[in-house]
């Protein structure tokens, strides 16, 4: 068992499952948005606003945003633990990796909070 304090869940299986489930949610959301463009090819701003004013769409959007954040963190964490290691950076690897992870998680948190404000704010 290789322990790790910074992974999404500390379980490879959970991360793996979350990444796949979040991909399905994001795929469905993409289809939903693309579908609305197909159904309303001349969509104007008012129709666009109305689309996102519906509670169902707000819930779906927030769910997709949460899925995107989880998906992004697992992906970025994996990339960081692959390439930012002592093999490439020697003794400084831990600092570089921690800084990278901190920036990633901060950005993701900002996007999440900002997204909630956009979708649910008045």
């Amino acid at each position: 068992m290789v322990t790790n304090a910074t992974s999404f869940s500390r379980s490879g299986l959970t991360d793996w499952l979350v990444q796949r489930l979040s991909a399905v949610v994001l795929g469905a959301y993409m289809l939903c948005i693309l579908g609305s463009f197909v159904v309303h090819p001349d969509m104007d701003y008012e129709q666009w606003r109305a689309l996102f004013a519906a509670d169902s769409m707000r819930i779906f959007s927030l769910l997709s945003l949460a899925a995107l954040c989880a998906h992004a963190w697992i992906g970025m964490w994996t990339v960081g633990t692959d390439y930012l290691t002592s093999l490439q950076f020697g003794k400084g690897a831990t600092s570089i990796r921690l800084a990278y992870q901190a920036i990633c998680i901060l950005l993701i948190a900002v996007y999440l909070i900002w997204g909630i404000r956009i979708f649910w704010g008045t």
């Binding site: 068992m1 290789v2 790790n4 490879g12 991360d15 994996t78 290691t85």
Partner: protein
């Protein structure tokens, strides 16, 4: 035929270099890469490499031939380099070089050791032997044949990046060999040891391991089976 061989002695050389040696090959013969290496060694006896059985059983002479990992003793030159082309021999990638084509396989064996490559059975031993049905025995086909040559693991980018944490295709093929064995009773403990973000889940399924296995085995499929077992147990 021109043979280019990786030369490096970490104790004396500042950096590795490639040595080119012209080797005379009989026109009507398609020699194995190991035979060509033996001819090259006759010209320069300081070339170092591992070899033993010379028939693809011991797994000693795993090396990188013109960019592809394989066993030198069962790879024809025509397949490794192509007619009239230069044969380029390098050590297995990703492992520390001890000398020339000889690599330090300690980390590879450490990963193998981690998966406890032996039967665990706490039940009292029967009078004669632990029997297995032909169907259960069949489940081990495609798993037990691994000769631990390390061609697969050293062809896997996930293993290059995390050789200390990712068990690698060779170790995971063996992990599944014991998970699939009807006589083994430590399935839950074995799976618990693998449910972290590195041991199994660093596999991205790119199948580099399958492409180079000299025994024609499929570690990616075995890793898929381990994932399914983890999923069945963990959900």
């Amino acid at each position: 035929m021109l043979v280019s061989i990786y030369r490096y002695n970490p104790e004396t050389d500042a950096k590795p270099s490639m040595q080119e040696i012209e080797v005379e090959i009989p026109a009507d013969k398609d020699l194995m890469v190991l035979d060509v290496l033996e001819l090259a060694k006759q010209k320069d006896p300081t070339i170092s490499y591992r070899r033993s059985c010379r028939e693809g059983v011991c797994g000693s002479d795993g090396m990188n031939m013109n960019g592809t990992n394989g066993l030198a003793c069962i790879t024809p030159v025509s397949e490794a380099a192509g007619p009239g082309k230069k044969l380029v021999l390098r050590p297995l990638p990703g492992l520390p070089v001890v000398r020339d084509l000889v690599v330090d396989m300690s980390v590879f064996y450490k990963q193998y050791e981690k998966i406890k490559p032996f039967l665990i059975n706490d039940n009292p031993a029967p009078a004669i032997e632990r029997l297995q049905s032909p169907e259960d025995r069949e489940k081990l086909d495609g798993l037990y044949e691994c000769i631990l040559c390390a061609c697969c693991s050293t062809n896997c980018p996930s293993y290059w990046w995390n050789p200390e944490k990712f068990i690698g295709p060779a170790g995971l093929l063996q992990a599944y060999r014991f998970l699939a064995d009807s006589r083994d009773t430590a399935t839950a403990e074995r799976l618990a040891e693998l449910d972290d973000p590195f041991s199994v889940f660093r596999c991205r399924g790119i199948m580099n391991c399958v492409a180079v296995c000299p025994k024609g085995l499929n570690p990616t499929r075995a890793i898929g089976h381990i994932r399914s077992m983890l999923l069945a147990q963990g959900t």
